[in-house]
Point group: C2
Chain length 350, copies 2
């Protein structure tokens, strides 16, 4: 099947935090686009967006929107994906979905291109983009799994509010201003917009991201646990997660503890594997206070790793500090990378 | 030896963040005070402070300040303690020191009254108050150690800026305002005032608290590791820590992973032990979004525990979320509690 030179691309959720980053990346990366459709809810339809000096009008996403579309990049929430992604596939589009709607479906590849791009070969029209906090962790873990074997993972996250969308960003900014001015603060969005209670995030930490499951873990924690096993092809790998929302706008950080199979492993050997890995940058020099932070990682596409050190007691245990822009590698950039990988390998066709 | 009915008390570092909380607690708790001396650096000497309707003038701390003092509560930094605590002891005072100067000295008890008050019996004049992040963790771990045996601890912290003093609080407030107004921000204090580089804490996370050691851990992390073993009387207990400074003013939170000796342990059994423990409050009901946060714990004296859950894979592994006011239980309140315990048990005399 001959490859096209340019594609009809639809962005669903075009006006959202991630949608906007996707549009920006499609332009910056000179993605081979024939026609770009910007789709949204009825509420945002009619807005104008500049793309490569051309004004595009945002349209309401309907099943018919996908006629003639080759690639549809979804980032408008799980319910929209569940309803419209199958419609897009019926119209012949390949969907890269940024929600949790299809991630754990057996016939849906869950892909971080640097980690498991070959899983794309199995796609049936829908490809899932993993959860933001999962993507950056597996990007750092895969080279270590390959080189040293991975026995166990325990992660505590430090997550930015933009993972909950533009509304959450506005809430953090408004609450911060009100708090600093000595005024009452109002909480309507975080920790979870659809949940019953809302708490102040400004100058606080909320140990809840997404809703609680029956086992006491949040859905975000279960996403990290289950998606990590699926992406790393390790159903038996023990993974535990504690996910915490914090008062910064962009980039998630993670305190990750791992145990490896290999005995006698040293920090320089871990650095070396990470330095050689695609999409991973080591920033780790304690003597010069070099380590990544959410601010230092923001607007960058890579996953940054610092604070690598041996556990004081566990011979094959190591601690890492993993930081990445949750809207880029954690969402928009990984989505665009998946689309690029499909095109480069001529894998769009099922 | 008969017990006095009231004591001459000195507060060293009286104008600092912790010193101010100590004075407030001495008043609130109706501590049996005959005379209260407020001591500080030369710079702050001369300031006035109201204590129980009496104005007290802050004096410069010198060796002679301790003549006639029964109890000296130090919170003015390690170098001041190193210099003046032995002088206070020479003058017959018992010192409760809130710095790291003497914590790991063999003949200095390191005490959290709910955990190891009997260690006070061995004091030689100086008693050390543990590090803030250590205190709240051992308060939660001790009842579990006693009931179930403790095999291993891994902690990732979420620490408030007030742990770095009033200057750090001001820096967070100013940077936050500047950032929200779209202005340049300035960093002069955090992560560590005396270290070479300074980074923005507002809307950021800094994986450095105190200076780096040769092993790649920060001094704060080593304090948590070593102090926990000393307080829990478990030299062999494996403890690992990752300490992170975050943009909130008060109360530290901790994501703590433990492994216990007991097999078949359940979350309700952990709740029960914690609920029965002095100074510990369980706030844990995921179905109603009940969990502690830094804001909810601020200005309270207890240690709050939530998010207790079984590890998904490790049979005897559990995760906890531990939150407490770093200036109260983490510093001032624990200091005053030690002094109270010495008095109540008639343990001031060596």
């Amino acid at each position: 099947m001959p490859q096209k030179s340019a594609y009809n691309v639809a962005v669903v959720g075009a006006t959202g935090a991630v949608g906007q980053k996707i549009i920006q990346l499609l332009e910056e990366k000179d993605f081979p686009i024939n026609e770009l459709k910007l789709l949204s809810s009825k509420r945002s339809a009619g807005l104008k967006q500049l793309f490569k000096q051309t004004e595009i009008t945002v349209e309401e996403a309907t099943p018919e929107s996908f006629a003639g579309v080759d690639i549809a990049l979804f980032s408008a929430g799980g319910s929209v994906s569940k309803k419209l992604a199958p419609e897009a596939v019926k119209h012949g589009a390949v969907v890269v979905d940024n929600t949790s709607a299809f991630r754990m479906d057996e016939d849906v590849p869950l892909v971080v291109p640097e980690v498991n791009k070959d899983d794309l070969l199995k796609h049936q029209g829908i490809i899932a983009n993993p959860n933001c906090s999962t993507i950056q962790m597996v990007a750092a873990l895969k080279p270590l799994q390959d080189a040293f074997g991975l026995k166990r993972v325990i992660v505590s996250t430090y997550q930015a509010v933009s993972g909950a969308g533009n509304e959450a960003n506005n809430e953090l900014a408004q609450q911060s201003k009100d708090y600093l001015d000595g005024n009452e603060t109002e909480a309507n969005i975080l920790p979870v917009k659809g949940d019953e209670k809302h708490f102040q995030i400004a100058f606080n930490a909320l140990p809840q991201i997404d809703v609680f499951q029956d086992n006491g873990y949040t859905f975000e924690e279960m996403k990290m646990i289950n998606e990590t096993k699926k992406i790393l092809h390790s159903k038996e790998l023990p993974v535990a997660a504690t996910c915490v929302r914090l008062p910064f706008f962009t980039s998630h950080a993670e305190s990750v503890y791992i145990e490896v199979d290999k005995q006698g492993l040293t920090v320089p050997k871990i650095w070396k594997e990470l330095e050689n890995a695609d999409g991973v940058v080591v920033e780790d020099d304690p003597t010069s206070q070099v380590y990544p932070t959410p601010l230092s990682a923001t607007d960058k596409e890579d996953v940054f790793v610092g604070r690598v050190r041996k556990d004081p007691d566990q011979e094959n245990g190591f601690h890492l500090w993993v930081v990445s822009d949750n809207l880029l590698k954690g969402a928009a950039w990984n989505t665009v990378q998946i689309a690029q990988t499909l095109i480069e390998n001529n894998w769009l066709q099922r």
